[in-house]
């Protein structure tokens, strides 16, 4: 009977642990903090908000799942004319999808992002590649259960119909991190790309946490007038992982650093140690039945 009670207690503890509390309501319009995949704190987790360049996480995921990363892509006029952060691609230039992916994730380059979306989208609809790609983004969001997410643009420009929630972004982050190519890309500090014509482009990450915060592993920054300052940050220390998602966070760097430090301090005992303890309790109880 004791082991049944122990299992029941663990189940209750698990249920409590999976319900985050709004411990830091002033850090952002919406935020999400989890440790080892278990939500710890959150504010307005399901509120639909603009996401700025955090959009590119889905763009990258769809592109990687499509495959063919070493295929050459030609930079369209639309891609070359992209505004905001750019890496400086020119119309008609050819560059691999892999390099476009890196530029979109590491530098948050909108020209690279659009060129990537068009290259992948063209495999579905050559006449309207961007629209075809966005449709695939929405389909992928639906398959991940991202009920509060909708895309109209592959790179994150403000649009009334483009929104997500921090809970959905956490789910998307897990899907991104499950792709080794993306897990490696999001922690790069620098990149150096070469076009088919031999022109070299280099840039640094937009994420200063990768330089300053011990254990930082990514993932993505985003900023637009409507979205404010946004961030998905992942930090690993001692085998534990803290994921922080911020939408419209006025002081995203210091506050994300603070959230990370506090999350590691507040992290409950590791699940493996807890299960070992409970298993032992059960054994200790039942072996004595004899």
């Amino acid at each position: 009977m004791r082991w049944i009670a122990a299992v029941a207690l663990l189940a209750c503890a698990g249920a409590q642990a999976s319900a985050p509390v709004d411990r830091f309501p002033d850090v952002a319009t919406a935020y999400w903090v989890e440790v080892d995949g278990r939500p710890l704190w959150a504010g307005q987790p399901d509120r639909r908000l603009p996401m700025a360049s955090l959009t590119k996480l889905m763009t990258a995921l769809v592109a990687v799942e499509q495959g063919g990363l070493d295929a050459w892509a030609e930079v369209s006029a639309g891609a070359a004319a992209e505004t905001g952060t750019r890496i400086g691609l020119r119309r008609g230039e050819r560059i691999t999808r892999r390099d476009l992916l890196l530029a979109a994730l590491v530098r948050s380059a909108n020209d690279a992002c659009r060129a990537l979306a068009d290259a992948v989208g063209a495999t579905t609809d050559a006449r309207a590649p961007t629209g075809a790609f966005v449709a695939r983004m929405n389909a992928r969001a639906a398959s991940l259960g991202m009920a509060d997410t909708h895309y109209t643009d592959p790179c994150g420009h403000d649009d009334a119909a483009q929104y997500t929630s921090v809970r959905d972004l956490a789910a998307l982050s897990h899907a991104v991190l499950a792709q080794p190519v993306l897990a490696e890309a999001v922690q790069r500090r620098e990149l150096r790309l070469t076009t088919a014509a031999g022109r070299v482009l280099s840039a640094r990450t937009t994420n200063p946490l990768l330089d300053g915060l011990p254990g930082a592993r990514g993932l993505k920054t985003g900023t637009t007038p409507a979205a404010g300052r946004c961030l998905v940050a992942l930090v690993e220390r001692g085998g534990r992982r803290v994921l922080v998602v911020l939408l419209h966070a006025p002081d995203r760097w210091w506050d994300s650093v603070g959230l990370v430090e506090l999350a590691f301090d507040a992290a409950p005992p590791r699940a493996d140690a807890a299960s070992a303890a409970s298993g032992a309790d059960a054994a200790g109880a039942d072996v004595s039945v004899r």
């Binding site: 603070g258 309790d281 200790g284």
Partner: protein, 346 residues
């Protein structure tokens, strides 16, 4: 650590324990026993197991399924049938009446009992399917083997200390082996990093095991605190050695001991933060020796800002689609940063 499947092992142990039989030197009878249980109008699926019993008359007190807290009373045999009263005490207390009879190739019986106010009926039937070596295949022998298996399996798990130490230990014969493992695990615990890691991994259980094995957490901690002081590991001092904290506030290195300063030396932390952190952007701190301290301070500041907040469950309400207006009116700082964002936009 050996793989441990407590449920499978315990199921086997319980099935074996259910059939006590008289001891016999050499051989026995192997029965295939099927047991069903019915309680509160519900039937549990039948369980079948093979049991090696001493070669004896099938209808006997020893063939009655029961655990060690049960006593058979008023056992009466009439011809090939028997009846009896069963009284169990302890956690699974119950009383019941049973009957059993000899069959041509085995036996069958049933017990009707009251358990927590509910009528329970357990029926069992044993069919002889051959002979067996009672010395090694008897329920007792198999039970001992299972117990040994469980006791061996948890030897390296310090959280299982109650299995090996104390008046209710189920595996007292294994205490020496268990303590040898505990001593091995804590051999380096006098080093601060090892102490902290051990504490984080196993919690208080490891220290109960240490005490049960004759060592002392306090004695180990004194050594660890001394080492931490000597090597400047002040985070450890702050976490585990409260008596030593005050003497290190003045000489703590902000770059190395930022967390210690922020958590334990409020006056100095405030002064340092005012000089080195307040008003500085994170990106401007990349090359500052105070970066680590300011990160710890950011956590403390975040806590302080939200200290009055009642940690309510996170809101589940979703705003309507397309509601993208920021919830808060932008502050002056926000609007100033927004201007910069329009230029950068990443």
């Amino acid at each position: 650590m050996p793989l441990f499947r407590p449920r499978r092992l315990l199921a086997a142990a319980l099935l074996c324990a259910a059939f006590a039989a008289a001891a016999a030197p050499d051989s026995g009878d192997r029965y295939r026993v099927t047991m069903t249980m019915r309680m509160a109008g519900m039937s549990m699926p039948g369980t079948t197991t093979e049991v090696c019993t001493a070669r004896a008359q099938a209808v006997s007190e020893q063939a009655i399924p029961k655990d060690k807290n049960c006593e058979v009373q008023n056992f009466r045999v009439e011809g090939n049938k028997a009846s009896y009263h069963l009284v169990c005490t302890g956690k699974n207390a119950m009383t019941g009446d049973g009957e059993m009879e000899t069959l041509a190739d085995g036996y069958r019986g049933s017990i009707k009992a009251q358990v927590e106010g509910q009528q329970m009926t357990m029926s069992y039937e044993g069919k002889r399917i051959g002979g067996c070596d009672y010395a090694t295949e008897s329920p007792e022998a198999q039970g001992r083997a299972v117990t040994a298996q469980i006791c061996e399996a948890q030897l390296e798990s310090p959280v299982s200390h109650t299995m090996y130490i104390g008046p209710k230990a189920a595996c007292p014969a294994y205490k020496a082996k268990f303590c040898a493992n505990v001593n091995r695990l804590t051999a380096k615990a006098a080093e601060p990093a090892h102490f902290a890691e051990t504490d984080r991994t196993y919690g208080g259980a490891i220290w109960q095991a240490v005490e049960g094995c004759g060592s002392s957490r306090a004695a180990i901690l004194v050594k660890a605190c001394s080492q931490a002081e000597a090597s400047g590991e002040l985070d450890f001092v702050g976490d585990y050695c409260p008596d030593l904290v005050a003497r290190h506030c003045a000489d703590a290195d902000p770059n190395r001991n930022g967390r210690f300063l922020v958590q334990h030396c409020a006056d100095r932390a405030r002064a340092l933060a005012a000089q080195q952190c307040e008003g500085r952007g994170y990106t401007a701190m990349q090359s500052s020796p105070y970066k680590g301290f300011c990160s710890s301070y950011a956590a403390q500041r975040l806590n302080a800002r939200n200290a009055g907040t009642q940690a309510a469950p996170a809101s589940q309400d979703a705003a309507p689609a397309g509601d993208e207006a920021p919830a808060k009116k932008p502050s002056l700082r926000d609007r100033f940063k927004g201007l910069k964002d329009r230029i950068g936009g990443n």
